[in-house]
Amino acid sequence: MSAEVGIGQAVRGGGRAQRSVGARVWYEASKFIRKKPLGAFGAVVLLMLIGMAVFAPIITQYGPLQQSTGPALAGPSLEHLAGTDQFGRDVFTRIVYGARISLFISVGATVMAIIPATTLGMMCAYFRGPFDLVFQRVVDAFQAIPGLILLITIVSILGSGQFNVVLALAIPASITGSRLQRAASMQVTGRDYVLAARSLGATHTRIIFQYILPNIMAPIIIVVSLGFGGYILAESSLSFLGYGVPPPAPSWGGMLASDGRRYMYVAPHMFIAPAIALSVVVFGVNMFGDAMRDILDPRLRGSG
């Protein structure tokens, strides 16, 4: 089993390793690459995304909003790897800085969704009764309304802006996402160790966070890794409908959906470059998420 858990232990450095920590990390990593080549590809893409976000000013000499870096609407060249846009801004630079927005949105929405979703899910599974009954009807309601419509309405209420987009993505996800955490918690609440904790007089808070939470980490990690790409895509869909991160911020969705589409006939690179960036990242993230799921929960392999 310990071999199956793989990278999780590699990250922690593997406590009982006979080999040195470095050798063990390398061993687990090379095994991950061999067993899950697609997942390893995903991990590389994810690292590249983080690298682009962190080292953006080193990677490119221009600023993301700097105009007239060259002729407007020019195609790819050595100075401008992905060409320029209608203001002469460097498209490659904007994509590199856009990684920050994509990361902000996906990490922000994931964190803001998974914490309430997990807490609510655990509470429903632990307390059951009227709270669970009523809350599950609310989840039903959220699930029955088409997702994009809900997003547009929430963004309209909150007003546009990068943080509001994150909030809009997180609110429905924190409600509907609680159902999976509830199901996972249900399996745990009946276990003997929970009963034992309760009979020893542990408080509800202690039981939920000390006994239930650690035992539902696998589904949480799976949801997180699979949801990541979804948020990036959802932001681009919102941009398409005019509800995404507002310009001039270099969000990939926005570059693709507004300027990219507007200048498609004269400067197709303005559409193609962000489309490739977005697709490669979402693809990589999904591949990584798939591999994580295979490792953490063999029962769910490839479903959904």
Binding site: I149, T153, R261, L278, V280, M287, L300, S303
Partner: protein, 341 residues
Amino acid sequence: MPAASVVYAGRRLITNGGVTGMAKYVLRRLIGMVPTWLIIMFMVVFMVRLIPGSIVDLLLQDQGGGGSYQAGIDRAQVEHRLGLDQPVYVQYVKYVAGVAQGNLGASLWDQQSVVSLIAQRVPVTAQVALVAIITSVFVSIPIGVISAVRRDSPVDYLLRSISILGISVPGFAIGTAIVIFPTLWWGVTVSFKYVSFAEDPIGHLKLIIPPAMVLGVQLSASVARLTRTMMLEVLQEDYIRTARAKGLQEPKIVVKHALKNALIPVVTVLGIQITNLLGGSVITETIFALPGLGRLMVSSIGARDYPVVQGIVVLTAIFVMCMNLAVDVSYGYLDPRARPA
């Protein structure tokens, strides 16, 4: 996980016994929908009114070109006429009462009844959804089966990569590329002027089929992955070993013995997908200029046409909930193992 809950609901339903058990189950589920439905109406009535810039502002802007009206007085009059001067909870109760009597109200802009507005738009969305589902079946099931049979081979990796790629590219990007690149590269101009089926059947289908196929290919990604999972599970069953031991040929085993059993949850998940299409259609309809439900929804949110937004959400929600019920019920029928002996 939809598949798991579906299995559970189906089994429980059948073990309750016979047709009366079924009728009771359906009735109980339908009654159970009422609170959810009240919550949905509550949400939508409150949420549309929370959007800044109310319909009253827009209407006054629309009318008062010369500023000949007295803002305060006119505003109160307009609000009163539209019934928006009442507290929101009163409007909610009135709306629920109206819906209970089958009255979804009328557009605040042109007084057209919401039911007829929606009825005009449903056929387009329904056709797109139908073609998308059919496309998805023809794309996803072969991919899923081949992927499972050739598990962990290069073919499997390739097919899985393609299906994940399908959900990694934004739908509007594929749609836009289909609309624009042929013009750009080959000078082919595609007309997107909408014609109804009655006017020009072939022209109509030409408009419906490409966007529907784009949606279908996107849908097929998740269905292909589910098919693969189910096939992998079924191929490990004893009856497959028996079939092999009998000396049946592998293609026959895969198609007749394995696929038939693996498809049950896939079919039910396809049912659930139809409901997702209602949301996904917004973007497709916008790109391909199709007058469907999704576009009506987005434009109504923009125009703050509260009754229309409410009407679409309420009807979509009913459809989604009934679809889920139908999926749960059908599972019992589709899986012989779940039937009583």
